[in-house]
């Protein structure tokens, strides 16, 4: 139970740090809102459901990369050494992943709400399934990007490297997510989507397992 206690304490620490400065949340919120607003000014109205879906996922993808990459990249050397002495690597990885999942869930919900508000000429007929797709998306993005940002933070200039490393890895996940979202946008019954949801859960579990296996090697630096 040492691990669970460490994880809980570390999550508490992350949330506390974030709440004091509100740096990440405000940053990504501003990013999402300004992107949606810019798209609104250019597109004015989107009645084509495919374009509506595509634009939303693009905005979500870039917001997630920005948001999750800050988790490892903004830690200074001193903080990293302190963390290394105190906690086990598995605890740190799990706590960061859980924190990122929560952060992404909050942000994607706000993003979805704002998006449906601005582009209200089209609403998905099955909004619940669409929201399920968005939840799966935020979980998948968080798990994959947490691991990639851990790798990128060890290299020199983390920001660009993060994008380069993460794109090929995230593309299969993105394809599954967009297929699921398209089912929701078309208004298909839930039975057709069980395959995709199962696959997404599987990919998430695999990613977390691989990250847990590999992270201790990364951490020893």
């Amino acid at each position: 139970m040492q691990l669970a206690k460490e994880v809980k304490y570390l999550i508490h620490k992350e949330v506390l740090l974030e709440w004091r400065s509100k740096y990440t949340i405000n940053g990504i919120l501003l990013y999402v809102v300004s992107t949606i607003f810019t798209c609104y000014l250019s597109f004015v109205s989107l009645s084509d459901k495919l374009a509506w879906n595509a634009l939303f996922w693009i905005i979500l993808l870039f917001a997630s990369i920005n948001g999750v990459s800050k988790s490892f990249l903004q830690e200074t050397k001193g903080q990293q050494l302190y963390n290394y002495i105190l906690a086990s690597p598995a605890a740190i990885l799990i706590s960061k992943t859980v924190y990122n999942i929560v952060l992404m869930l909050v942000l994607t919900t706000i993003a979805l709400g704002f998006y449906t508000l601005v582009f209200d000429t089209f609403t998905p007929p099955d909004l619940l399934l669409y929201y399920v797709a968005v939840i799966m998306g935020s979980i998948s993005f968080s798990t994959v990007f947490t691991m990639v940002s851990a790798i990128a933070s060890k290299a020199g200039n983390g920001g660009m490297l993060m994008a380069i490393l993460s794109f090929p890895i995230i593309i299969p996940v993105l394809i599954l997510l967009i297929k699921l979202a398209k089912n929701a946008v078309d208004g298909l019954p839930w039975e057709n989507s069980y395959d995709e949801i199962g696959m997404l859960l599987l990919v998430n579990v695999l990613t977390v397992a691989t990250s847990l296996l590999l992270f201790p090697y990364l951490w020893r630096d």
Partner: protein
């Protein structure tokens, strides 16, 4: 002398399949017609790439535990060789696509996924370039390699089956299984795969030897370590016999 038998075998097989592939008869399938001969060139490229990337991930895992520079060099050079074969596979596929589907790149899912998996390994090379310190570079790139290999396998084999694709073997098209390949084609196809895998492996060993020698010349103190001395000694023994092939 016994180290060059497989190099000769590989060269002979590739020459044989190149000539026989273009001259021997092939079954008549609609639309594909004579371009089915592409099978002898396109598919072995991908097999060679998979073999080389498997070698790479094996040495990546090994370098995590052994922390030896040799394993790291083996991992990166096999990725280099594998990328060449991946690009060749994409190019041969595109040439075939021009004749069968009408365009070099028709954004077919299999083509896209194959391109993305080659991109995955390009990102590996970029990651290596971004880190200067050797031990750290070896460790971090090994971790990314272990992450990337299953992803590549999923991209190339699992995902195309789920989507509709024009590529033979996916989406309900005739694949090159026992129903469509006849024994004339098999006679050329299997040797072609083996030949190109051997050539790819040879390419990788040459690059590995080159890189080891470069490293030895660059860091004088690394020469003290026994395993690099050993590999340098064995490569010196080999070069008079096998170097001209």
């Amino acid at each position: 002398m016994n180290k060059i038998w497989w190099k000769i075998l590989g060269s002979v097989l590739v020459i044989y399949t190149a000539i026989a592939g273009l001259l021997l008869g092939v079954p008549r399938l609609p639309i594909i017609n004579e371009s089915i001969r592409n099978l002898y060139f396109h598919v072995p490229m991908w097999f060679a790439m998979i073999v080389l990337f498997s070698i790479s991930v094996f040495y990546s895992i090994k370098s995590l535990s052994s922390k030896s520079e040799i394993d790291d060099i083996k991992a990166v050079e096999s990725v280099n060789a594998g990328i060449v074969f991946g690009l060749l596979g994409l190019v041969t596929g595109a040439i075939w696509a021009k004749y069968t589907w009408g365009q070099f790149w028709s954004f077919d899912p299999k083509q896209n996924f194959a391109a993305i998996s080659v991109l995955l390994y390009f990102a590996y090379l970029i990651l290596r370039n971004a880190i200067d310190e050797e031990q750290k570079r070896a460790k971090i790139s090994a971790i990314y390699n272990i992450f990337a290999f299953p992803m590549m396998v999923v991209l190339l084999f699992v995902l195309p089956r789920l989507k509709d694709s024009l590529h033979p073997g996916n989406g309900g098209n005739p694949g090159f299984n026992s129903y469509d390949l006849d024994s004339r084609m098999r006679m050329v196809f299997y040797p072609a795969c083996l030949g190109w895998i051997l050539i790819g492996y040879w390419f990788y060993t040459i690059r590995f030897r080159l890189r080891s020698i470069e490293n030895v010349l660059n860091n004088a103190e690394a020469f003290e370590s026994k395993d690099i001395q050993d590999s340098f000694a064995t490569s010196k023994n080999q070069s008079p016999a096998g170097e001209n092939k």
